[in-house]
Amino acid sequence: MAERPEDLNLPNAVITRIIKEALPDGVNISKEARSAISRAASVFVLYATSCANNFAMKGKRKTLNAGDVLSAMEEMEFQRFIAPLKESLEVYRREQKGKKEARKDKDKKADSEEQDKSREDDNDDDDERMEEEEQNDEEEVDN
């Protein structure tokens, strides 16, 4: 749950990188523009979630699924996202499947170690990446 307002923020470094990818090289992005885009992205998530949830409710389902999100994009008039989203979803599913199988193999070798890892993966994976961007040096020293 979001307990503090900051919990709704997305990591600045990642947002900046995504913006830069979309613009020609050398375009200067003002600080206010970055922060506005970042907040707009949070609003987008909430808006999409709300739309997707309506589709789930209509289908009498409690869990949001991929179809709900895609329907939400259409409803929000972001049809242009649907094709690329479907493509990446396919790749993502394949990747996840590969990971699962790799995990099974490892399980046989080192049962207890793997448990530690998967627990860590859940919590760390994303946070770690954020830290990586913003405070690389610090992290190294800590370890």
Binding site: I18, A36, A41, F44, N53, E95, N143
Partner: protein, 152 residues
């Protein structure tokens, strides 16, 4: 020096690198996207595919918003993307209008209203059209806030 971590962390890291590396499918943190999605009170659970798609869609949205605003904005002459290019987009482009009433609120939201309340009011809106009503309320609130504040 990087990647030379001792212990089990190193293993986890390597696995993450191999599966994505520089060409990760999605660069926004899924855990954070999940927190934002869950701040919507009526959402009970989200499956992994839906979470991934929302994160990916948000990235596409960020790119679209940035490139649209740059192309249609004035900053182009100066090789810059500015806040006014963005607010112009939110006001002029229908697809981005859902941002219009809200972005000033978000500019101030840490001080003025709790995120939870924004989340509730947004999730109350079933469609784009009903959004307009709440938007107007938010706009009024914004105006009051603007009067009290000298700058963004």
């Amino acid at each position: 020096m990087r990647g030379e971590r001792p212990g089990p962390r190193r293993g986890g890291k390597m696995a993450a690198r191999l599966s994505g590396g520089e060409n990760r499918l999605v660069s926004l943190p899924l855990s954070r996207i999940r927190v934002i999605m869950k701040s919507s009170p009526e959402v009970s659970s989200i499956n992994q595919d839906a979470l991934f798609l929302t994160a990916k869609a948000t990235e596409l949205f960020v790119q679209y918003l940035a490139s649209y605003s740059y192309k249609h904005g004035r900053g182009k002459e100066k090789n810059a993307l500015t806040y006014s290019d963005l607010s112009h987009t939110a006001e002029e482009c229908e697809t981005f209008q859902f941002l219009a009433g809200i972005s000033p609120v978000l500019q101030n939201y840490t001080r003025l209203i709790s995120a939870q309340r924004i989340a509730v009011s947004i999730s109350d809106m079933p469609t784009f059209k009903s959004f307009q009503l709440v938007k107007q309320d938010l706009k009024k609130m914004c105006q009051i806030m603007w009067l009290k504040k000298s700058h963004i």
